[in-house]
């Protein structure tokens, strides 16, 4: 309970205080549209490839993990159902 409240404090402090400074700051103008280009520009400070590949790995990995987890849960419950059904049949005799 205390830990949960502490986590809530942290979340609210970050939200409140940082949101205020976000309003005060001047963010750059957002892009209105995506403009395609012929050649890639020279790479900047942060390399794009690890971020790009990382993003795709996270998405595909996350989806795969969820599907596997879901199948496992479904299989376990189905097993229990079969077990109970055969038990009921057995007692029915």
């Amino acid at each position: 309970m205390a830990a949960l409240r502490a986590a809530c404090v942290a979340a609210l402090v970050i939200g409140g205080a940082a949101a205020s400074s976000a309003l005060a700051a001047q963010p750059p103008q957002p892009q209105d549209e995506f403009r395609p280009v012929g050649n890639s520009p020279a790479p900047e400070q942060i390399p794009a490839a690890p971020l790009l590949i990382g993003a795709y790995v996270v998405v595909l990995g996350g989806l795969f993990a969820y599907v596997v987890g879901l199948s496992r849960r479904l299989g376990a419950v189905r097993q229990d159902v079969e077990r109970l059904e055969s038990e009921i049949k057995r007692r029915g005799r």
């Binding site: 409140g16 949101a19 205020s20």
Partner: protein, 229 residues
Amino acid sequence: MNATPFGRSLWLVLRKDLTVEVRSREIAYTTLFFAASCVLVFAFALVREGRAPEGGAAGILWIAIAFAGTLALGRTFERERQSETLRALLLSPMPRPAIYVGKLLGIVALLVGTELVLVPLVVFLFNARLFAHPFWLAGIVLGGTIGYAAVGTLFAAMLVRARSRDVLLPVLLYPVVVPVIIAGVQGTTALLQPNFDAVLVRFWLLLLVTFDVVFVVLALWTFEAVMSD
């Protein structure tokens, strides 16, 4: 059996809560003390070399209100649970929306009472010139309190018979009211700016009013639907 009229039901519920509270003052005192302690903890934690953090006052005020509100909500409905009065209210011919609004107004009254002490405390501890524009301040604080209480009253009532209700109230309430808290903080921060911009403050106030309307309307419908059993 005819349903009791809305206004009369509302007044009965509100008067009951206020009477019990005025007699015992239990929730009022504990909430107030807790809120003041919150603010003091922030003051001790964040003050550096005798100077308060820039722009921290607004956030701290609203965090104290949010935490005090959770405490007040929990205690108010715990009281209902112990004497099963909520169940009695729901079984009575009172219209459900009236019960909800009655409890909502009670919670708002409690929180406003707390804020009457909390705001001066924040002004004092953090040198925040909140009283420069008192009517705007009152509007922002009241708008935020109503939005917070609207969702809080609904969720606290819903959780009365649930397991782990103490922990579940913050878990459910805080994400939903974050927009209200943010609008409250932004509005209060705008009030503290040296070059006061009424347009900006009015924007946040209008946003709070929008949240209040949406949340109260949604809560009224949900209260009716969830509490019928």
